[in-house]
């Protein structure tokens, strides 16, 4: 038979990792990306990538990495794939090193490692504070090499719209929109891999990049792909609030010794240097003596919330706390953290080597995503998923520096699996559903362009972001989640009256955005309703009315399916694979 053709959607770490494996195994790949792949959101990851290489004589093992990840995720992740990922991690670091990633080094020329949240080991390899950028570039370079040898075709500036699914329910390709010419086309494939990243835009402002709308995931969800654990949203404890986005201040700042504090007295107006040690409240160190500033992100985020909103100790009465590096010498800071210190300097104007940074939690990551099996395939044959857009590796809370790992690992697993699936795929009947899917998409485009009404999609988006951030992030109440869902239904109704101020057919960004917005709204319901139904607290999902983890009822994966009804998605629950580590209470404040 002819060489199988695989379509990979998304050119971040997961997508590029999949492309490399397929090209290496002799398959042909079409790679689709909204932005030139070198500009993908993976570049924003700062702190590092985890692997239990045990190069510091601490007795670290891949099993301890596995245990930290499961425990950090509050036992919600299926254990078999997580175990396999942690076991594969050291070889992945070696490979990245061979590709030329400029990892920081020890005096002996070996890889240096630092500590990150949720572990007691120095397990995080890093390239300054721009690790994601360096990793993405390494994979981008390898893909460019395959591209120059004709094994990969890039479609940059194309946006995925939908999967093409045949009469037997099997994927046969995709439809996509050329964001420059606005041409709608379908592309045949024997298997497709979605590696389309996060969903930050659903929350308005987040640490995510502009393209992280979750639109692709939502599109296939509406075509029948199951979405899992959507309610688990990571709010990163240390962000720089901004007008256009929330900028991440990496966990590596704390990994290198950064301390979080507020003045003990509310409204203390003294400059930080005049506040003596005894009058500073290092609340993470006091509440969590063993892990200190390196508790997992959900714990740190709730602690900051408590200090600001319950204890009223935010700086100047504002929702902000100090993240302080001023006790560390400048040379060390420049060698290990320069990239993130520059971000703070450029966007805030203060030098964090001289004054403590002012930070606050912000929406950062979705642990939930498309449901996949052990081969990274969704419930629709031929649709695979890898990276942040799938749910598999982080349970109820992701540990820092595990995302780069899960992206590359997921890509490495999905690529060869998609190829072997494609090799045994029976030929399609007729056109495989291409004409029908193209017609469906053309009709959606047409109605959007000819809508009469008064709604502006960017304004609807702001309202969505506000309601999701208010009700579906750090602290959740069923009443608020109910209100959020009702608001989304209202927005979906108003969406029908969207009138685009730009109806042209050339590089029309508001048209592309309006299409994404519809998908954001549909996916937001999965998050809000999933959260409302889960009456417990686990990892990043915290309900004051149900403050404890309830394994009996909720040690289960949430699975949402699209119904098209006004009531929203249908939910069911699936048992979690806990065959290696027995669930135990998750207590970072305990001495043990």
């Amino acid at each position: 038979m002819a060489t199988p053709r695989i379509i990979v959607v998304g050119g971040g770490l997961a997508g590029l990792a999949a492309v490399i494996k397929i090209a290496e195994a002799g398959g042909s790949v079409d790679l689709f990306s909204i932005v030139p792949v070198k500009r993908s959101h993976s570049v924003c990851a700062q702190g590092g990538i985890n692997a239990a290489k045990n190069l510091k004589g601490e007795g670290d093992t891949t099993y301890k990495h596995f245990d930290d990840t499961i425990y950090g995720g509050d036992f919600l992740a299926n254990q078999t794939p997580v175990k396999a990922m942690c076991e594969a991690a050291p070889a992945i670091i070696d490979l990245l090193d061979r590709m030329g990633v400029t990892f920081n080094r020890t005096p002996e020329g070996l890889l240096d490692f630092r500590r990150f949240g949720g572990t007691l080991y120095n397990r995080t390899a890093f390239a300054g504070a721009t690790t994601g950028q360096q990793l993405l570039y390494a994979l981008d370079e390898q893909v460019r090499r395959h591209e120059s040898e004709g094994k990969v075709r890039k479609f940059e500036g194309w946006e995925f719209l939908s999967a093409v699914i045949d009469s037997k329910g099997v994927a046969r390709g995709i439809t996509a929109l050329d964001l420059r010419t606005m041409e709608l086309r379908s592309f045949p494939a024997d298997a497709i891999i979605l590696a389309t990243g996060g969903i930050g835009a659903i929350f308005g402002k987040s640490t995510n990049s502009v393209v992280c709308t979750g639109s692709a995931q939502s599109a296939v969800f509406q075509q029948g792909v199951t979405y899992a654990n959507g309610e688990f949203i990571q709010v990163h404890p240390t962000c720089i609030p901004g007008e256009d986005k929330l900028r991440l201040m990496s966990e590596s700042a704390r990994g290198e010794g950064g301390r979080v504090w507020v003045p003990r007295t509310a409204g203390d107006k003294r400059p930080f240097k005049q506040i003596p040690e005894a009058e500073r409240f290092y609340f993470l160190e006091e509440w969590y003596p063993k892990y200190g500033n390196l508790v997992p992100r959900d714990i740190a985020t709730r602690a900051i919330h408590k200090v600001v909103f319950e204890n009223g100790l935010g700086l100047d009465g504002q929702p902000m706390v100090y993240l302080d590096l001023t006790h560390i010498d400048r040379a060390t800071l420049n060698r290990k953290l320069e990239g993130i210190l520059e971000i703070y300097e450029k966007f805030v104007g203060d030098d964090p080597r001289d004054v403590p940074m002012k930070i606050f939690p912000g929406m950062h990551y979705t642990m939930g995503g498309l449901w996949v099996d052990a081969n990274q395939m969704t419930n629709i044959p031929g649709i695979f998923a890898a990276g942040e857009c799938e749910y598999q590796y982080h349970g109820a809370n992701r540990l820092g520096a595990n995302s780069l790992l899960s992206c590359i690992y997921g890509g490495f697993i999905s690529g060869p699996n998609a190829l072997s699936y494609a090799k045994s795929l029976p030929a399609q009947e007729g056109d495989g559903g291409h004409a029908a899917e193209l017609a469906r998409q053309a009709a959606i485009n047409d109605s959007l362009l000819h809508n009469e009404g008064t709604e502006n999609p960017f304004k609807l988006w702001r309202e969505l972001g506000d309601v999701m951030t208010k009700h579906a992030t750090v602290i959740r109440y069923n009443k608020g989640l109910q209100q959020a869902d009702e608001k989304i239904v209202e927005l979906l109704d108003r969406y029908r009256k969207v009138n685009l101020s730009d109806k042209s057919q050339w590089a029309n960004t508001s048209f592309a955005f309006a299409r994404q917005l519809k998908n954001m709204l549909e996916l937001a319901r999965v998050v809000a309703q999933g959260a409302r139904l889960r009456d417990e607290s686990r990892g990043a999902h915290y309900k004051p009315d149900f403050p404890d983890r309830n394994d009996e009822q909720f040690l289960k994966t949430t699975k949402a399916s699209y119904t098209g009804d006004i009531i929203g998605p249908r939910f069911e629950y699936e048992a979690v694979d806990t065959q290696f580590i027995q669930p135990r209470p998750r207590r970072y404040d305990a001495a043990s």
């Binding site: 070198k38 005096p107 090499r145 502009v210 991440l248």
Partner: protein, 249 residues
């Protein structure tokens, strides 16, 4: 009380063939706002300063943290990233234009794919044997890493090419960013296996000898990459390579 506002003048062009026009905008000021947040505001309220209905502005952007390299444009005449252009630090009206050395797509969006083609031409990668497990990579001393790391920080924004007097259709000059990548991969213990090929790629027309040493590139680089030093360095390597190839006949 009148709210404080910010004045913008933005160059618009509906398509490559359409005429360019300037539109003025008056946007509510907010603390910490950058040029990108002003454009987000225009998308939500597409009205010019004199009250005319217009369209949202087309521009490239993604990370908004000056690390993806997308949002390069000319702001008050200077090539820079729009995300890190804080409104409070800019003279008003803030004049925003597309980069001038690349094919225009629409408004502030241009086609910079030439850089990625150049990276292909100089084989800017480490040619590993395969992705299977072959053990650890080569040992690299911290001093060497500290030389390579700044070069690998290049975000492909193309600001260095925009401000280079030699980067134009006549010379076909490859530009500083690509030359820095040649240096990066020629430095790498495994990457240097392609060193001669990379140097030869920079030896012909449009190669490194087109550099007129105006030094604009190093001044404009948002990542502070030591571009002029690197160019001198690679320039010497290219000459040596030419001499070697000549002697080999």
């Amino acid at each position: 009380m009148a709210t404080k506002t910010v004045l913008f003048e933005i160059k618009r062009q509906a398509s490559p063939d359409a005429p360019a026009v300037w539109e003025s905008f008056e946007i509510p000021w907010r603390p910490g706002m950058n040029v990108i947040s002003a454009m987000m505001e225009i998308a939500a309220n597409p009205l010019t300063a004199d009250g005319h209905q217009t369209t949202p502005i087309t521009y490239d952007s993604n990370c908004l943290e000056e690390i993806c390299g997308s949002c390069a444009m000319r702001i008050n005449g200077k090539a820079r990233m729009a995300c890190s252009a804080l409104v409070d630090n800019l003279d008003q009206p803030i004049r925003v234009e597309p980069l001038s050395k690349f094919p225009l797509v629409r408004d502030l969006q241009v086609d910079r794919s030439v850089l990625f083609e150049n990276l292909k031409a100089v084989k800017a990668w480490v040619p590993i044997d395969g992705t299977y497990d072959l053990g650890s990579g080569p040992r690299i001393l911290p001093q060497e890493q500290e030389l390579s790391y700044p070069l690998s920080n290049c975000i492909s924004c193309t600001c260095c090419m925009e401000v280079c007097p030699q980067f134009n259709i006549d010379t076909g000059f490859v530009g500083a960013a690509t030359i820095a990548q040649v240096k990066l991969f020629n430095n790498h213990p495994t990457g240097k296996v392609l060193k001669e090929e990379r140097l030869r790629a920079l030896a012909g027309d449009g190669g490194i000898q087109e550099c007129g040493f105006a030094q604009n590139c190093v001044e404009v680089c948002p990542k502070g990459i030591p571009l002029t030093n690197t160019i001198s360095n690679v320039s010497r390597d290219v000459l040596l390579q030419k001499a070697k190839d000549f002697l080999r006949g």
